[in-house]
């Protein structure tokens, strides 16, 4: 064949591979504003930075499928986000529902291997129907398709993984979302182990897709999704923002950004966020917003375990993970969902060298029958165990209440590298009102109850604990941001160039 013919043949094959599932299927997606797999890549990556791997891959199972499987339904390659190389897999639902096949399984394996070994963040754009049928059927199908890569399900957080749930996600897309450090979901997308159709066949009951895997389920009940957005474009922007706080891999410190003008402007009035009465609640997110660099707060799981706020942010240009009690919900009392959320967040920050800042205002853990049934002891010790294994800097500021075991879980004593408190802090083993009942057997209304509560409250101020240096600094609310900026500098892990030990790198993403 002459070189001209070879080049023509190449071009024809290239155009065919880029055509995805054909104009009709692509048009159907375009109408409701859903991006196709290649458009998603274009929105995610820096312009002209994508270099594809496996453009000419197709089904290798049935000869008749070769022409019907451009790129075999999973588009893979490398590109840059804000100038940094990443590896990406974008599922093309227009090609056999982006079902998992032998060829596209190899493509995912290659992306993960290169990302892990060369230190690139990994991005999964999910929309897949599960294993390709009938390729996987029978023992031959199983032998060919499954279990041939012993590292397929091994994750040790060498590099950050981010996932988007952008359509129907069953099988592969669900698993990789579950493995990821960050998951964003577009409203209308569904994530579940199996499709409602298969579930209905199995349990002989009609199953509603939103109920079995919609955004409300995953943002409010399971906590498997970190953010919910309205469009594909917003989902891709969220992935970019998430990665901006993280290093490209676990052996480097997170990038340092310029401090935006206006950062710290809200600090002067920050003390006014605290209500006059110790029994009243407030939204700690107002305090986080004031302390962090302007517009840098990126909250994770805002609708799940709301009694704690977990947010990536920057303080003085440095990435931090903020873990804060939020009295607005349940008075800040820690429930089992909050324990899971805190544990997950601590593991994320520690795995990628992000210092942890804790803001404390909690009356303790929620107790009761429901808490015990939800395995509260296990959740509490997971949270505590995670905090104890952290090797990145831990800086804690007690804003108001810190009681009992929650004092320890929220960085009390030597569970932080620096343990500071506002003068408004009250620290003890138990709320004075409960302690009056336990110690004196008195209830509200009993003679001597008020005096007993006052007696119990007297020793709870910050001054006693500061006098014995169990609190290192008493910080005025307005000075909190400058205190944290300085302490982040002091503790920036010079001996290891900002890299921690990652003792929880094999911990899962859910608990």
């Amino acid at each position: 064949m002459a070189i001209e013919d070879i080049l023509q043949d190449y071009e024809a094959r290239r155009i065919k591979a880029l055509a995805m599932g054909g104009p009709d299927r692509l048009a159907k997606r375009r109408a409701p504003g859903i991006l196709n797999a290649r458009e998603r890549i274009d929105h995610l990556l820096d312009a002209d930075s994508f270099i594809e791997s496996g453009l000419f891959g197709t089904s290798s199972a049935a000869e008749s499928d070769r022409d019907k499987t451009p790129a075999d339904g999973k588009i893979a390659g490398y590109g840059r986000i804000d100038g940094r190389e990443v590896a990406v897999v974008s599922n093309d639902f227009t090609v056999k529902g982006a079902s998992s096949s032998a060829t596209n399984g190899k493509k995912i394996g290659q992306m993960k291997r290169v990302a892990t070994q060369r230190g690139l963040p990994m991005v999964f754009l999910g929309e897949s129907s599960g294993a390709r049928m009938p390729d996987t059927m029978g023992s031959r199908g199983m032998g060919v398709m499954l279990g041939n890569d012993p590292t397929q399900y091994r994750r040790m957080r060498e590099t950050p993984w981010a996932a988007a749930v952008l359509g129907l996600c069953y099988g592969s897309s669900t698993w990789y979302t579950g493995y990821s450090d960050f998951a964003v979901m577009r409203k209308g997308a569904i994530m579940a182990v199996s499709s409602p159709q298969l579930v209905s066949m199995a349990i002989k009951e009609k199953v509603d897709p939103e109920e079995i895997g919609g955004w409300k389920l995953h943002s409010e009940v399971t906590g498997l999704v970190d953010q919910v957005v309205d469009s594909d474009e917003e989902a891709l922007a969220a992935i970019k923002q998430f990665l901006s706080y993280l290093p490209a891999h676990h052996k480097e410190a997170p990038p340092v950004h310029a401090v935006p003008a206006g950062s710290g402007d809200g600090m002067r009035d920050i003390a006014n966020v605290l209500p006059a009465s110790r029994t009243q609640v407030y939204d700690v997110r107002k305090i986080i917003k004031a302390i962090a660099d302007k517009d840098s707060v990126f909250e994770l799981k805002p609708r799940f375990g709301k009694v704690v706020v977990t947010a990536l942010a920057r303080i003085g240009g440095r990435s931090v993970g903020i873990l804060a009690n939020n009295p607005l919900h349940k008075g800040g009392a820690l429930d089992t969902d909050a324990c899971e959320k805190a544990t997950n967040f601590i593991v994320l920050c520690d795995s990628f060298n992000i210092p942890i800042v804790m803001l404390v205002d909690t009356p303790g853990f929620i107790i009761g029958l429901d808490a015990e049934r939800r395995r509260a002891p296990g959740k509490i010790v997971n949270f505590m165990g995670a905090l104890s294994l952290v090797t990145v800097p831990k800086l804690t500021v007690v804003l108001r209440k810190s009681y009992g075991q929650a004092y320890l879980n929220m960085g009390g004593g030597r569970n932080s590298d620096e343990f500071a408190a506002w003068p408004t802090a009250e620290i003890s083993f138990m709320d004075p009102a409960f302690a009056a009942g336990i110690v004196h057997g008195l209830n509200p209304g009993d003679a001597g109850y008020d005096e007993a509560v006052m007696e119990m409250a007297r020793g709870n101020s910050v001054w006693d604990i500061a006098s014995m240096y169990a609190v290192q600094s008493v910080v005025l609310p307005a000075d909190t941001r400058s205190y944290l900026i300085r302490m982040l500098e002091v503790h920036c892990m010079r001996l290891t160039n900002g890299v921690g030990e990652h003792l929880m790198r094999t911990w899962p993403t859910t608990f």
Binding site: S277, T279, Q280, V281, K306, P327, L328, H329, K330, G331, G332, A333, P363, G364, I366, G368, D370, D431, A433, F434
Partner: protein, 73 residues
């Protein structure tokens, strides 16, 4: 028009009820206060609308997830 249930997120007792059926409610408004863990925890309307029904009275014990009011949006 939709009916939205307002739930208490904590087990405790109803301390104060601020609004009555027929009152206009804006997103973010506190409808009532539940006392739990010695804290005053508000039940907040997440959407704007009109309060249709209050299903508890001050002093009533409530459980986590219980419907305490309904809103017409």
């Amino acid at each position: 028009m939709a009916i939205v249930k307002l739930l208490t997120e904590v087990t405790g007792s109803v301390w104060k009820i601020y609004l009555k059926p027929g009152d206009a409610v804006a997103a973010g408004d506190e409808v009532m206060i539940i006392e739990s863990m010695k804290m005053e925890i508000p039940v907040i309307a997440e959407e704007s609308g009109t309060l249709k029904e209050i299903s508890v009275a001050e002093g009533d014990p409530v459980s986590e997830g219980q419907t305490v009011a309904t809103l017409t949006t």
